[in-house]
């Protein structure tokens, strides 16, 4: 009697969402891992093949260059997005009259999806800057940045920082305003300089905000796809493909479902491991209040 009632309650409240969650997420995930050990061609599997899909993936030199490019992108964007976002949060929480007004502006790029932002910057890098460079003779910009692998990397970083810093700024603002005023007053009375207060009081007390923002940028960096497609499209010559785009191309453009999926599983393992390490390390710096 009691278990029948609790079963009914489970079905009423949790049945539908859990069913959809399993169908959409759990089943394809388990499937996907299984497929990598078979000769799956996108339609059917005939036999188990062990680790050969993985072996083949790692023999692909473009996969290695994509991994290197992605790692560099993740590290550089993580550092810059968070440094800029924290700076913006400091500006917006200083006792400036127009702080709210500024906050509105900083957040705007975040509203617009990566594809539209990527396309806007493609116009800027390919046309607007080049036209100006020829007019005013700026050597650095005469050739579009998107046609050179190294410069295209920085173009990707610029757009990513511009897009994500507004969101992370909000996370940092939340952290900064959660610090109790009496702690700050005490440090002021003790004669601590603003810089000293920032590093020994504010940052340790808001370490949780760093944990969250670092986690979000880490995950965002590995999953970046929209800006990549719209800004560089992976070019020139597939040298600026981040891992998402690489997997997409491998599977949907070249029809390599087996290796594409094993690269996707590798990506999952890297993301999970990196996030786990980051959260564990960040948590250690959090102060219990």
């Amino acid at each position: 009697m009691k278990s029948a009632r609790s079963m009914k309650r489970f079905m009423k409240f949790a049945g539908v969402p859990l069913a959809i969650f399993s169908i959409v997420l759990v089943v394809p995930f388990v499937n996907g891992v299984y497929y990598t050990f078979t000769d799956w061609d996108g339609f059917e599997t005939t036999k188990l093949v062990g680790f050969s899909n993985y072996a083949e993936s790692f023999q692909d030199p473009t996969f290695w260059s994509t991994l290197r490019f992605t790692a560099l992108f993740v590290v550089v964007s993580l550092v810059l997005v968070n440094a800029v976002a924290f700076g913006l949060a400091l500006i917006v929480t200083s006792k400036l009259k127009s702080a709210n007004f500024l906050r509105t502006f900083f957040f705007v790029p975040n509203l617009v999806g990566g594809v539209v932002l990527g396309v806007i910057w493609q116009f800027i890098f390919n046309s607007a800057i080049v036209a100006l460079a020829n007019k005013y003779d700026w050597e650095l910009f005469k050739q579009s940045w998107l046609q050179d692998t190294n410069k295209a990397f920085w173009a990707l970083i610029i757009v990513t920082v511009w897009q994500s810093s507004g969101y992370m700024m909000i996370v940092y603002i939340t952290g900064l305003i959660s610090i109790e005023n009496d702690v700050l007053e005490a440090s002021q009375i003790d004669g601590a300089s603003p810089l000293r207060t920032l590093f020994t009081i504010k940052i340790p007390l808001m370490a949780q905000a760093f944990t969250i923002a670092l986690f979000l940028t880490l995950r965002g960096g590995f999953m970046a796809y929209d800006v990549n497609v719209a800004l560089t499209g992976g070019g020139p010559f597939r040298t600026t493909e981040l891992i998402s785009l690489h997997i997409f191309q491998d599977a949907f453009a070249n029809g390599n479902f087996g290796t594409g999926q094993s690269k996707a599983v590798v990506m999952f393992l890297i993301v999970a491991l990196a996030a786990l390490v980051q959260v564990t390390v960040s948590k250690r710096y959090e102060v219990q209040r």
């Binding site: 969650f21 996907g32 705007v108 975040n110 509203l111 539209v116 046309s127 993301v271």
Partner: protein
């Protein structure tokens, strides 16, 4: 105020405004050029147009099927977000109030699933759902969004429900309300702040999403980001029209933001703390 503090304030002011200018400048550039003729854009992208032309907007509006993609975006976002709110608030309520080993385990799986990148399952995903997608791709997309969004939304609701005292549920059940009635009439209205957060975070994600719609939708059911991308790809040589298309793509969400600015910011900071 000391001289030093005043200088500090001036520097902050200056840096703040310079940065704010830099943040909106790309949008400004796009807007200015959407009003110009092609030749004027290449001559000097920075110049303010001497004669304004709306021709670009008319062309872009028709060529990117603006009205149709806007409608598709609205339909898909509204349905997905509403269903996500309904399902995840109920699921979170159940998981937070029924304390068994099973609910604890389910909650852990949901939290862990948030680390799985979509790219890790998109390939088997598309193979498995090809038929469903070809039958009704907008419906399928909404269904997928519920599946992908339910974990984070449930997580946010779960944190909030834990702060509502259980005495309220008990009082309702003593008064004879069924658990469904108690939930929708009493608990759900109390969760307004977190519902706003869930709505905004999911709406921003779904409105701007590109990869999943690109895999799932066809020409007739394109959302705004998709049609913008395809339009730009085709007409990027026609700078003026391409710029007008971008302005059209940006306007709806920016208006929405300016109207609901407070809710946006507080919604995101609420979501960040959890």
């Amino acid at each position: 105020m000391s001289t030093r503090a005043r200088w500090g304030k001036r520097t902050t002011f200056l840096v703040g405004y310079t940065l704010a200018f830099a943040y909106v400048f790309p949008f400004f550039l796009v807007f200015v050029n959407s009003l110009k003729l092609k030749y004027d854009i290449l001559a000097n992208p920075l110049a303010i147009p001497l004669s304004i032309t709306w021709e670009n907007f008319q062309q872009a509006y028709t060529k990117m099927n603006f009205f149709r993609s806007l409608t598709n975006s609205i339909i898909i976002t509204v349905f997905s977000v509403s269903l996500l709110i309904i399902f995840s608030s109920m699921l979170a309520y159940y998981l937070a109030r029924t304390k068994t080993k099973l609910t604890k385990y389910i909650f852990l799986v949901l939290v862990a699933s948030m680390i799985v990148p979509f790219q890790a399952l998109m390939i088997p995903f598309m193979a498995r759902f090809a038929q469903f997608v070809s039958w009704n791709n907008r419906g399928a997309l909404i269904f997928f969004y519920i599946g992908f969004g339910v974990a984070l939304s449930t997580f946010l609701y779960h944190g909030f429900i834990s702060t509502i005292p259980t005495e309220i549920d008990e009082a309702a059940s003593i008064d004879g309300a069924s658990d469904m009635v108690a939930f929708w009439k009493i608990i759900f209205p109390m969760m307004r702040p977190i519902t706003a957060t869930v709505a905004i975070i999911n709406a921003l994600w779904i409105w701007n999403d590109f990869l999943l719609p690109r895999l799932v939708l066809t020409n007739e059911t394109q959302t705004l980001p998709l049609s913008t991308y395809l339009f730009y790809g085709q007409y990027s040589i026609e700078y003026g029209q391409a710029m007008a298309g971008l302005v059209l793509a940006v306007i709806p969400i920016v208006i929405f933001y300016l109207v609901l600015q407070k809710q946006f910011i507080s919604g995101i900071s609420q979501g960040a703390v959890k």
